[in-house]
C-alpha cells in the first residue's frame, strides 16, 4: 500500500546543506500499524510530511495507493490527502471557529464522503457526544486530539499519519488516546504510521522503525 524507496531530502539552513533523509526505504502493508521512532532531528517528521505530500522530496519515490506522490501536482497531492490520508499532528490543528461536530466532519464533507452513520459511530467511540457543540478552545488537550483523530478517520483513509499525536498530553491521557486510535484503526482497517519518540508507545504498535541519521536503522 505504501512503498517508500531511496527517499532523500536536504534542507538548506544557515547557508549549509543538511541532509535530513539519505535514502529511506519503507513498506507499510494495508492495515499495518507502524511506529516511527528516532531522536530529535532524525528526520521523522520530514518523512511523514513527504509521505503526506506536504513537502517535496529531492530523490527517490513514494508510492501510495498505486500513485507516485512525487509526480502529482499540488492539486493531485491535495486530493490524495483529502481522500486517502488522515493526518494528526501534535498541535491538534483543529479549526478554532468550528465546533466539535463540524471539526469532525469537515474533511469528510470536503471530500464529499460524509457518512452520518460512521460519523455517529466515531462520536460515540471517541466519547465526544457531550462535547459536540463546544469549540476547540473549550476542550482539554486530550479531547482536542480525539477530535483531530476523529476528523482524520472520518474519511476512512487508507493510511493514518500521526506526528507525535500525544506529545502534548500527559501519560495517562496519551495512553487512552492511543488506545482509542488503535481501536479505530483496527475498525477501519487502515494503515497507521505514527511518529513518536516514546519507545513505550511505539511498543504498542505492530512494528517499530527507527530512523537514525537519515536512514532506517
Amino acid at each position: 500500500m505504501l512503498s517508500v524507496r531511496h527517499l532523500t531530502k536536504t534542507y538548506r539552513a544557515a547557508g549549509e546543506q543538511v541532509a535530513v533523509l539519505r535514502g529511506v526505504n519503507l513498506e507499510i502493508a494495508a492495515g499495518e500499524r507502524v511506529a516511527l521512532t528516532g531522536e530529535s532531528g532524525s528526520g521523522k517528521s520530514t518523512l511523514l510530511h513527504l509521505i503526506a505530500g506536504l513537502d517535496r522530496a529531492d530523490g527517490g519515490d513514494i508510492r501510495l495507493a498505486d500513485k507516485l506522490v512525487g509526480d502529482l501536482t499540488d492539486a493531485g497531492r491535495a486530493e490524495l490527502r483529502r481522500d486517502r490520508l488522515g493526518l494528526v499532528f501534535q498541535q491538534f490543528n483543529l479549526i478554532p471557529s468550528l465546533n466539535v461536530e463540524d471539526n469532525l466532519a469537515f474533511q469528510a464533507r470536503i471530500a464529499g464522503r460524509h457518512e452520518p452513520a460512521w460519523h455517529a459511530e466515531l462520536v460515540e467511540r471517541l466519547g465526544l457526544g457531550h462535547l459536540l457543540k463546544r469549540y476547540p478552545e473549550q476542550l482539554s488537550g486530550g479531547q482536542q486530539q480525539r477530535v483531530a483523530i476523529g476528523r482524520a478517520l472520518a474519511v476512512k483513509p487508507l493510511l493514518l499519519l500521526a506526528d507525535e499525536p500525544t506529545g502534548n498530553l500527559d501519560e495517562a491521557t496519551a495512553d487512552q488516546v492511543l488506545a482509542l486510535t488503535r481501536d479505530l484503526v483496527a475498525r477501519t482497517g487502515c494503515g497507521f504510521l505514527m511518529v513518536t519518540h516514546s519507545a513505550r508507545l511505539a511498543a504498542t504498535l505492530d512494528r517499530q522503525i527507527n530512523l537514525h541519521a537519515g536512514l532506517i536503522a
Binding site: H49, I95, L98, Q107
Partner: protein, 820 residues
Amino acid sequence: MSRIIWILAVLLSHWRRHPMQLATLLIGLISATALWSGVQALNQQARSSYDRAAAAFGGARTPMLAGKDGAAFPQRLFTDLRRAGWPVSPVVEGRLQIGGRSFRLLGIEPVTLPAEIGNAPAIGKGNSQAFIAPPGQTLAAPETLSELHEPEGASLLASNGASLPPLHVQPQLAPGVLVVDIGVAQRLLNMPDRISRLLVGPAKEPRLPLETVAGDRLRLVAADAESDLERLTDSFHLNLTAFGLLSFFVGLFIVNSAIGLAFEQRLPMLRTLRACGVSACLLNAVLLLELVTLALAAGIIGLVCGYLIAGSLLPDVAASLRGLYGAEIPGQLTLKPQWWIAGLAISILGALAAAAASLTKAARLPILVAAQPQAWQQQQRRWLVIQCGVALVVLIAAGGCLWFGDSLLSGFAVLAALLLGAALALPALLELALSLGQRSARDALVAWCWADSRQQLSGLSLALMALLLALAVNVGVGTMVETFSRTFITWLDGRLAADVYINASDDARANEIRAWLGQRPEVQAILPGGRAETEINGAPVEILGLPDHATYRDHWPLLRSANNAWVRLRPGDTGFVSEQLARRLNLAIGDHIDMPAPGGNWTLEIVGIYADYGNPKGQVAVNFAALTRRFPNIPRTRLGLRVAPGEIPALMSALQGKFGLDGRNLIDQATLKADSTRIFNRTFAVTTALNSFTLGIAGVALLTSLLTLSNSRLPQLAPLWAIGITRRQLASIEVLKTMSVALITTLLALPLGLLVAWCLIAVVNVKAFGWRLPFDVFPLQLLELVGVAMLAALLAALIPALKLSRMQPANLVKVFANER
C-alpha cells in the same frame, strides 16, 4: 460545488466567532463605498442637469452664429442666411419674471431646428403643430412646474402682464427654463423681429460666405463638447471628488487592517485546510469568492448609505452650485443603473486592493510552518527605511507639482502628494519620537511602555496614518472655511455700503422714486447704480457702474490699486476689474482691456483690482456716468440710499406704501447681508460634512486597529501581570500609550494641516474659484481639533482597555500554559 460551499462555510465560521472583526471589515467597506458613491451620485446628478441645460436648444453643443457684440440682431439676417444656403435656425433668449422668480425664456423655431440638436426636447417630432399653432405651448421641466405650483395646461402670467401659452411638461429640459415658439418669445420679451442667435445645423449645401450675407454683424461660435456650466463647475466637482476619494481611501485603510488581521488569525485554519486536502488553487479561489461576497454585501449597503448621503447633501450642493455658478440642479435625486454598477464595482475593487497583500500571502502560503526567528525589529526597520524613502520621493513630487503646476489638477496633485508623503513618513517619525522617549526614560516600566509602543507601531501605523490624514484635512479645510467666512463678511461690509437698495420696475418709476426721495430729509445720498453685460474672449462679463461718491471711495474694498484710483476712475477711461477676471485674463494694474460696447470697443486702463467673491462672471467696475454714456440703453432702475441711522425702517415702509415696492425690489443692508452670508455658508457645507465623515471614519479605523491589536497583545501583557502589575494598571498603561501615540500623530497633523490649508487657499481656491484669501491661523480651532482627536483616541483605546481590566486572570495564565 458543494466542496466550495463547505470550504466557504469553514472560512466564514471565522467571522461568526469574531463578529467585531467582520463588523470592522464591513464598516470599512460600507463607508468607503458610501462616501465614494454618494459623491459620485452628486456629481452625476449635477452633470446630467448640465446636460439638460446644455441640450436646451443651442447650448454650447451646437455651433451658432451670434451678434458681433453679443446683442440681438434683426430677424432679416435669418432669412437672408437661409436663402444663402445656411442651415440656420433662430433662437430668442431672455429672462422673464414670473411670480417674483426669474426664468430663462427660450424661443425656438421647430421647423428649421436641426434634428441633431435633439437629444434635446422632442420638439418637432410629431407634435410641433400643437407647439406652433395658437394657443401654442410653454415647455418646462417637471421641477419648474412644481416650483411654480402650476399644473400642466395652466397659462402663466409674466410680471409685465403678458400671458404665456399653456404649460406642457418636457422632462428633458433643465429646471428654470421655459421654451416657447419663437414668435411668442419675441412678443413676451418685447423683441419684435429680433433674434438672439442662430443655431447652425449640419446640412452640407453650398452656401455663400458669412461676410457676404451678414457683413461683420455675425460671428460663428464653434460647437463645444463641454458645456459652459460643465467647465465652470469642473472645479467644484473636482473638489467633491477629491473628498470622496479621500474618504474612500480612509475606508480602505480600515478594510486593509481588518482583512490583514483576519488573515493572520486564520493562518492556522488555512494550513489545516491545506493539510486536510484543499488544494492551494481551490483555497485561494474560495478566499477570493469570500471577499467578493462580502464586498458585494457591503457594496449594496454602502450604495444605499451613499444614496442617503447624497440625498441629504444635495440641497447644499444645489445651493452652492446655484450661488456660485447659477447652475440649476433639481432637488430630487435620480440615479442611473450605471451608478449602482459602478458603486458595486468600486466596492469589490476596493476590497481586492485592500486585501491584495493578504491574498498574495495566502497564495504563497506554505503548509508547513518554517521555523523563523522573530525578527520583527529588523523587519520593521527595513520597512520604515523603504517607506521613508518613498515618502521622500512623494514629497519631492509634491514640491515639483507646486513649483511647475499651474492648474487645479496640479493643485490637487500637490495636496495628494503632500498627504501621502506625510502619511508614509509618519511611522518613521513616530518611531523616532518613541525611541527618543525610550532613551530618556529612567523608570523600567516607562521604558517598557516606550518600547512596547514601538513594537505596536507596525500594527497601528495604518490606523494612525488614517488619523493623520483625516486630521490634516480637517485642519486644512477648517482653516480655509474659517478664513473664507471671515474674509467674506469683512468684504461684504465694504461692498454693501448703502443702507437701502431699490430696484424700480422701469426708468420712469425710478425717476419718480428718486424725486420723492430727494425731498426726504433722512436720505443722505441717492446712489444710482447700473450694470451692462458684454463679452470678453467669448466669456460673459458684467460692467458695473459706480457713482462717484464718498460712500464708495471710503468703503469699496480694493485688493490692489494705483495711486488716486478713485479720482482716475472719473473720466471713464479707467476701470477696476474683479479678481476672477484679472486672474483669468492675467491682468495687472496698468494693463488695458478692450470691451465690446454698442459704439465700438471701450478700452480701459486698469487702476484697481477688487474681490468679487461668488460671482461666476467676470466683472469690471467703471464710473457710473461713463457707463451710461457708453451703454445708453441700460436700465437705470437701481438705487442705493444712504439713510440716517434709525430712520431706515420708517423710510422703507414709506417706500413700500408709496410705490408698492416689496421684498424683491426693496431691501435693506442687514437683510441683504444675512441672505448673502447664508448662501455662502452653504457653499462649504458639503465640504465640511464630508470632512466630518472622514474624521469619523478615521476614528473607527483607530478603534478597530486597537481592538484587533488588543487580542494579540496578551502575550506581551501577561508577563507584566505576572510580575505584579494589576490589570487596572495595565489597562491604564494601555490607554496612556495609545493616547500618547495619538497625541504625537495629532501634533504632527497640525503643521501638515496648515500646509494643506495653505495649498487650498493659495492654489486650489485660486484655480477653482478665481480668488485668493489671506492666510490666517486660528489657534482655538486647532486646539479644538486636538481635543476631538484625543477624545476619539481615548474612546478607541478605552474599549480594549476595559476588556483588559476585566479579563479573567485565567486567560492571562493561559498565555503561559498554552504558548501559541
